[in-house]
Amino acid sequence: MSNVSANSEYVSYLDHHGKYKGIMSWIMATDHKRIALLYMYSIMTFFIIGVVLGIMMKLEMLTPGETIMKAKMYNSVFTLHGILMIFMVVIPGLSAVFGNFFLPIHIGAKDVSFPKLNRFSWWIFVVGSIMAVLSQVLKDGPPDTGWTFYAPYSTTTSSNVIMATAAAFVLGFSSILTGLNFIVTIHQLRAPGMKFFNMPLFPWALYATAWIQLLATPVIGITLLMLIAERAFHIGFFDPALGGDPLLFQHLFWIYSHPAVYVMMLPAMGVITEIIPTFCQRQIYGYKAVAVSSLAIAGVGFLVWGHHMYTSGMSDTARWFFSLLTFIVAVPSAIKVFNWITTMYKGSIDVKPPFLYALAFIFLFIIGGTTGLLLGSVATNVQVHDTAFVVAHFHYIIFGGMGFAFFAAIHYWLPKMYGRMYDFKMANIGLVINFIGFNLLYFPQFVIGIQGMPRRYFDYPAKFQPAQLVSSIGGFILVTGLIIMIYTLVKGARKGAPAPANPWRGSTLEWQIPSPPSVENFDEEPVIKENPYDYK
């Protein structure tokens, strides 16, 4: 595979074992690129399990009443689907995989600041994941609280909540350490001559994300610890029977979990911001606006958590306050969308799979974002709170946004990561099927949500049958698309034609080095350009 470079010193990171051999050369690896791949393989595994659970729900919803499982089972299935997808797939997703791989390369560094800590983060990620899986099989039965663990149900149900929350706690710790590593790396390891405003925008997005991971995750950590203490020692915090306040749990939970949505979205926006200039061969429009809007989203995003609680009995003052802030946080997101689209204007656009995925992202993100405003406004929120509308909105943002950005990223960077190219035609077919399947799956949920279909119900009145049927069919189409996509990618990574160093004519630093990169990324000192998107 190392036939790409004429440099005799060049050793691909994939061929360089270090001190260990075989599988240990991966588990014990401190190379950020190997750790990124470890994260990718584990996250893809959990993603596939999550998809299977999702399909089980779609099968259940095919007909009213019991179709393939009982109500209790359905509760456990959507809980596990949520825990897996949120804590083990989308929160670590982009930053741990592509952030780990490309952050050091983007800033001209050899590795992250603390390579061993980075390895440790992956280890505890695995430990947390195993705990989450264990919570399903231990004797008290799988947790049935939903991924939100709302008190007082979570403090009283007999199911295995302690294990599941402890798992989320450990996974949170992994996320904190990754964020910590990235912040220090960006501050300390930028190549000489690279100032903050010379960085590409993906590191900018990761920087903002890392701050959220660092500062918001401890809040969920302590909340989950309190919940565990409440269950284990009957200490009163959230359960009214013990003197506690269940609403306080919701506050604390969302103080983390709303910023966590930006942990998922900001790196996704960063990926799109990388892809669009490359495939338009054009300088990104409004570099500083995009960079600063990442920080603005992170900052304001900390203060809007209450919009998940409009119907919970919060004070009216708090409701309008949170509503106001929610509308403010939409502004920097809209700035990004505007700048992506403006970058395309008069660009020489090269329609390749990564760019098409980026377009799909923008389309789905706009739908997700604008329906978010509907939910951010108190008056309309009260009508659709806890309905399928919320489910649809959430999936348009998280799957349509973060998920499609992940797919875009993998199509964009796979040639760099493996030094091989995939089949464009197959990738495009996968994309079209994914796009159709996705919209069929989730768009009907908007409609029946407005008509009053609650979320998390395993049963529904007959009038929702047609929409549920369309939605389930969409689910199967989406799965077909995913299978085609994964097959194409795996085949490309294993047996594809060798990829050149710069297949897309990109201008950021990862395209200046061989594919796959060498162990230390830069065998020669990288040339730092003042403008990372210099297309002339």
């Binding site: 501050h187 500062l215 609403l247 506050h251 103080i255 900390f302 203060l303 209450g306 009995g313 919060m314 004070s315 009216d316 003052t317 708090a318 306050f321």
Partner: protein
């Protein structure tokens, strides 16, 4: 390859800091027994804030650290204050 540039603080300066902190602790305890009504909590918190500022700047060397780090530390406290204040918008107006 020594690249640690942490400022050295003299013993004397550290013991002076301790004396100030002990004095402030004494003040907190004394004030708690005096009836100040609603101000008691405010005064207690104010003194605690002053004490933590002294610990941060002297014991933790923050006084001699880069401006960036000092801003970051300040930012964390501001963020926490904002989160508390916003939560109280709910509880105070219910």
């Amino acid at each position: 390859m020594a690249n640690n540039t942490t400022h050295t603080i003299e013993y004397q300066s550290l013991s002076k800091t301790l004396l100030i902190l002990l004095f402030l602790t004494f003040v907190t305890i004394t004030i708690a027994s005096v009836h100040l009504g609603a101000f008691t909590l405010a005064v207690a918190l104010l003194i605690a804030c002053v004490k933590s500022f002294i610990v941060l700047s002297n014991f933790m060397h923050l006084k001699y650290e880069s401006l960036l780090l000092r801003i970051l530390v300040g930012m964390v406290f501001v963020l926490f204050a904002l989160i508390v204040a916003i939560t109280f918008i709910d509880y105070a107006f219910r």
